[in-house]
Amino acid sequence: MKSIENFRSYYNTELQPILKELEEERIGSMRKTGIGATVILGIAAILAAFILNASLSPVALLIPLVIGAALVGGAWWLFTKDFKQHFKNSLIRQVIQYVDPSLAYTPAGKISRYEFESSTLFKHRIDRYRGEDLVDGQIDKTKIRFSELHAEYKTTSTDSKGRRKTHWHTIFKGLFFIADFNKHFHGRTVVLPDSAEKLFGRLGKKLQEWNLSRDDLINMEDVDFEKEFVVYGTDQIEARYILSTALMRRILEFKRKMKVPVHMAFVNSDLYMAISIKKNMFEPRLLRKILDFEIVRDYLEDVILAVGIVEDLNLNTRIWTKE
């Protein structure tokens, strides 16, 4: 895996030509959007003038306004769609392969819903499942796969006038990472952010013991780890075999570095990790110049963050029977 240090020269030689091309394309698509928006807003203004002239109710003014705004949004989507695709297929793919040539990138791909569910990290019923930016490959001895995911469920409510309204609630949104774990195991161990114990202390721990939707509660001896996480598993010894004292420290450090909730599951000899990162990774910013080293470095840092989990958790140490 490559680091940020030598990136400057790679940027100068390999990425600049791509960026120049993309920058032209970006300006072109922005210009098209601008022209489209001017035309749409012009028509909307004429319509508004007509409405005012015909002295219709001022509420009618909302009609050209709403339709105009929707059309401008549509034009934005239409004229930037190709650029976004090109951006991901050229720049982002290059940046990912700079980090490791074995990594394959599928902009429209995602971790399958089946895999997401088999991690057992989130038990809520899923009504909408979306994702993008799938990366897979092998870092030294460890196979990895990750993508952005957004899983939601919906509820409907009826207001006093009898109108039905649908609400979408996020189950998980962020980076979902799967890696081949370096030890063999048969059961299931999940590591979840700890909220009950933080709030209620010892009583919280008791409540966790009675959590019927999860396996047995496993009390770890690392006090700092126990404060941040709660562990459930099918086997007390296997959970500790997986979560060695060293790995617990590494997970804790990773959590502190990320500063967002981290869920982990060890199932089917694989490691599943759900990191609730807020930002949308690998997306171009349309209103800013992309011919800028700092911006490209941000993309690189996002890739390294995900791929670096292998090193962060020491997954390439293969001194046990699993090679």
Binding site: K183, H184, N219, M220, I237, R240, Y241, T321
Partner: protein
């Protein structure tokens, strides 16, 4: 009316006592279960020793004494009629002897590079890691049990049941100083 209240109080009291009794028994059994698991993994370790001896014997001419002593220790451990305390002492000595063998291996590059030995070393690493996990599981079970024995109100119940604190499984000084097999592998 008063009779009903009295009845409810008595039933509640009985329920609480039964609950405490059962939870203490459950925790005691967890401790025993965890101890039995350590035993299972120790047996796995015993099974690997003849392999280890057979693999290194061809190469190690000067360490005959070391190999013989580990074979004798293993024979004593699997003989069956030993007390738990004795088993712990024997295993500490086995750990020490295995550490010695691993250090000696450094002098035999051919042996160290052989596929047979590398596979064996992986298995040994795995057993050691599992053993450490089993010890930690045992200690966690003992801590939960000891908390119940000493904390109010379960301590009253524990007193009547003659439950007393259990000892944690501590790793002896000698074992801690053993060279780490993992380091040798690097």
């Amino acid at each position: 009316m008063e009779l009903i209240i009295l009845g409810v109080v008595v039933v509640l009291f009985i329920l609480v006592v039964v609950g405490m009794y059962n939870s203490l028994i459950g925790k005691k059994n967890d401790v025993e279960n965890a101890f039995a698991s350590i035993d299972t993994i120790l047996k796995k370790r015993y099974d690997l020793i003849p392999n280890l001896v057979a693999t290194v014997k061809k190469y190690m001419e000067h360490e005959r004494g070391l190999l013989e002593s580990i074979t004798t220790l293993r024979a004593r451990a699997v003989s069956g009629n030993i007390l738990p305390d004795e088993a712990i002492t024997i295993n500490n000595e086995i750990s020490k002897a295995m550490g010695g063998i691993m250090v000696a291996v450094e002098n035999y590059p051919d042996l160290k590079a052989s596929q047979n030995f590398m596979d064996l070393q992986r298995s040994l690493n795995e057993v050691e890691e599992q053993l450490s996990a089993a010890r930690r599981a045992f200690n966690a079970a003992v801590t939960t049990f000891n908390n119940a024995v000493e904390m109010f109100p379960t301590n009253i119940m524990a007193g009547m049941m003659h439950c007393s604190r259990r000892q944690l499984f501590e790793i002896p000084e000698t074992e801690r100083e053993n060279p780490d097999v993992k380091d040798l592998f690097a």
